[in-house]
């Protein structure tokens, strides 16, 4: 565990992502945790033809779909909850640019669990007896579909149930509240799919709001649901979920959630959005782009007290710069 895995966002995207990869992202929650700034970096790098294993759509997939970067996506929910439909993804699906294969929110982590276990399939009642089983965007002519969630016989009772395929992404980028440089991570708020995703993916990149000393992991080892063994890289990404929220650190930026989604509705709007919010350099540039006024507003969160036990272990920006230079 003595090797630092801390790299920059740009390095992580250059080293681990590629056109056509099968990509998982976590928590993949529309309003909460996801590696949104990792998606911004992939857009900057022009990564395309991505096959996405998502839990839900987020502003990350919304943006990447808006620029035509997602060839195919599997998910449980394609909207932005109370913020409305996800216009970028919606446009990509309606124009046939993105193939969207529907599952439910419960199905996706179960399929990731099956991937983590290396099971050939996992039995299910979820998503059976409905069009999630009968209609397949991958195999549209076959209706009612017999391949997406095939009917199988329970060998013990002889009754019928469905079978899900496992998910094993090539690469996963996972937002975490805090990580140390070795790849141990603590998440605040719902984990959603992040535990399973960290175990079923071939490569795992942690996208952390805070870099912390390993002392916090030794103090609260029960909270370290992603240990260094499964981690390939750690990226420091303050406000990396913005404009969505990171429990304990910042609330969703209501104005920007609506604004970004409105811009992604058209190609022109998307280009304009990227001129304003897709041209920054490193992570410190990114923070400047968000701006102090917005940061003051979103960090005034009712969940801030959740960070109290961890504050003494948080690394400063100067310490993080030094850790990056020392490599």
């Amino acid at each position: 565990m003595n090797k630092s895995k801390l790299i920059t966002m740009k390095e992580a995207v250059e080293k681990y992502t590629y056109d056509g990869m099968y990509f998982g992202h976590g928590g993949s929650l529309p309003v909460g945790s996801d590696c949104v700034s990792f998606f911004r970096e992939m857009v900057k790098a022009g990564i395309k033809d991505i096959d996405c294993a998502s839990g839900c759509n987020t502003q990350g997939t919304n943006l990447l779909a808006a620029v035509g970067g997602i060839k195919r996506i599997e998910l449980g929910f394609s909207g932005l909850e109370v913020y409305g439909f996800a216009n970028g993804l919606k446009r990509a699906v309606e124009t046939g640019k993105t193939i969207l294969e529907d599952y439910s929110n419960g199905a996706m982590p179960i399929r990731m669990m099956a991937g983590a276990l290396n099971w050939p399939f996992v039995p299910t009642f979820m998503n059976t007896g409905c069009d999630q089983q009968w209609a397949s965007a991958d195999d549209p002519e076959n209706y009612p579909n017999t391949k997406k969630i095939p009917e199988i016989t329970d060998p013990f009772t002889g009754k019928t149930c469905g079978a899900f395929t496992p998910i094993k992404p090539d690469v996963a980028a996972i937002h975490v509240t805090m990580a140390d440089i070795y790849g141990n991570a603590i998440m605040l708020g719902t984990e959603w799919n992040r535990f399973e995703l960290s175990r079923c993916s071939k490569k795992v990149i942690l996208v952390a709001d805070k870099i912390v000393d390993t002392g916090v992991m030794r103090q609260y080892p029960n909270l370290v649901r992603i240990p260094y063994i499964v981690t390939d890289a750690v990226v420091y990404a303050p406000y990396g979920v913005w404009p969505a929220c990171s429990t304990g650190l910042y609330d969703s930026d209501e104005e920007h959630m609506f604004y970004m989604n409105k811009m992604l509705k058209t190609e022109e709007g998307t280009n304009e959005y990227l001129e304003k919010f897709g041209q920054y350099g490193d992570v410190w540039d990114y923070v400047n782009m968000i701006g102090q006024e917005r940061i003051d507003k979103i960090t005034n969160t009712d969940t801030a007290f959740l960070m109290d036990p961890y504050r003494q272990w948080i690394k400063t920006d100067a310490e993080i710069k030094e850790l990056l230079e020392r490599r």
Binding site: G76, S78, V93, G96, T128, D131, G189, S252
Partner: protein, 265 residues
């Protein structure tokens, strides 16, 4: 008394929850209905979100999502999707729940996935064509529909949303009616009511077709029928549902601090 149709729907939905039940609320208005019940008459209602946020109540207004900080600020446990949607919901443990719908049919099947051009529904053409309008997909509603002991559908009552057969079943109700669910072995029992902006529909115990059992002081049997796309049957004992009491409205508005339910008439 001055209240909106949305508020009446939320209160009628909340009245369906009993104290002590294990419940899951979806995002948006259904969450308000659930927390209204907890505040009003079911203080021991045990609620959680599909992300595994336990023991919390909304802070600062309607949460933007099931994982928003507004619902995470006073939780006692954070777990994950497999736990909440799998172990508690899909398994058959949850007593009651609320889900929303873009479209429902007479057997309580729910479409939240897409709107297809006339005549191009997958089941009509025998293949999956692209929807004209892509909606949000099933989210966690499919786990509720297949796993919850019973659940409520909360739907704005408009003719375009109430059809003989939905274009796409995102979350199964009683499928083709009768005991059609049995084939799939679902642990859950199916929808117990549709609570709408015009009244309440409940399934016939045998055919499972939804029939009108109640309407509001401001609606009528005729208005409900006009806004339903199938030949709606009316229960012989269909009656007016009591309007919100002052206490109910006060408790609902204490939960709906940002006035989400008062925006629409």
């Amino acid at each position: 008394m001055d209240y909106t149709r949305q508020e009446m729907m939320a209160i009628a939905t909340g009245r369906e929850f009993k104290d002590g039940e294990l419940a899951i609320f979806g995002v948006g208005l259904s969450m308000l209905a659930g927390f209204f019940a907890q505040k009003n008459h079911a203080p021991n209602l045990m609620a959680f979100t599909e992300g595994g946020v336990y023991g919390s109540t909304p802070v600062g207004g309607l949460p933007w999502g099931i994982e928003d900080n507004r619902i995470s600020a006073n939780a006692v446990s954070f777990t994950n999707g497999i736990d909440a949607l799998g172990f508690l919901v899909a398994s058959g443990r949850v007593d009651n729940a609320v889900i929303g719908a873009a479209e429902v049919d007479k057997y309580g099947n729910v479409n939240t996935t897409g709107i297809w051009a006339e005549g191009t529904d997958p089941w009509k053409v025998g293949k999956y064509t692209l929807p004209r309008v892509r909606l949000n997909g099933s989210g966690g509603a499919n786990e509720i529909a297949t796993g919850a002991k019973k659940y409520l559908l909360m739907v704005t009552h408009e003719r375009k949303r109430f059809n003989e057969k939905v274009s796409y079943i995102s979350s199964p109700g009683y499928l083709d009616g009768g005991n059609a669910r049995d084939k799939y072995g679902f642990p859950g029992g199916g929808p117990s009511a549709m609570i709408t902006t015009l009244g309440i529909l409940r399934p016939d115990p045998v055919t499972k077709e939804f029939i009108l059992t109640g309407y509001y002081p401001f609606s009528s049997i005729e208005e409900v029928k006009e806004n339903t796309g199938w030949d709606l049957k009316v229960a012989p004992d269909a009656q007016v549902i009591p309007e919100p009491t002052e206490k109910e409205l006060e408790n609902l508005r204490a939960v709906d601090v940002t006035g989400s339910l008062r925006k629409k008439k």
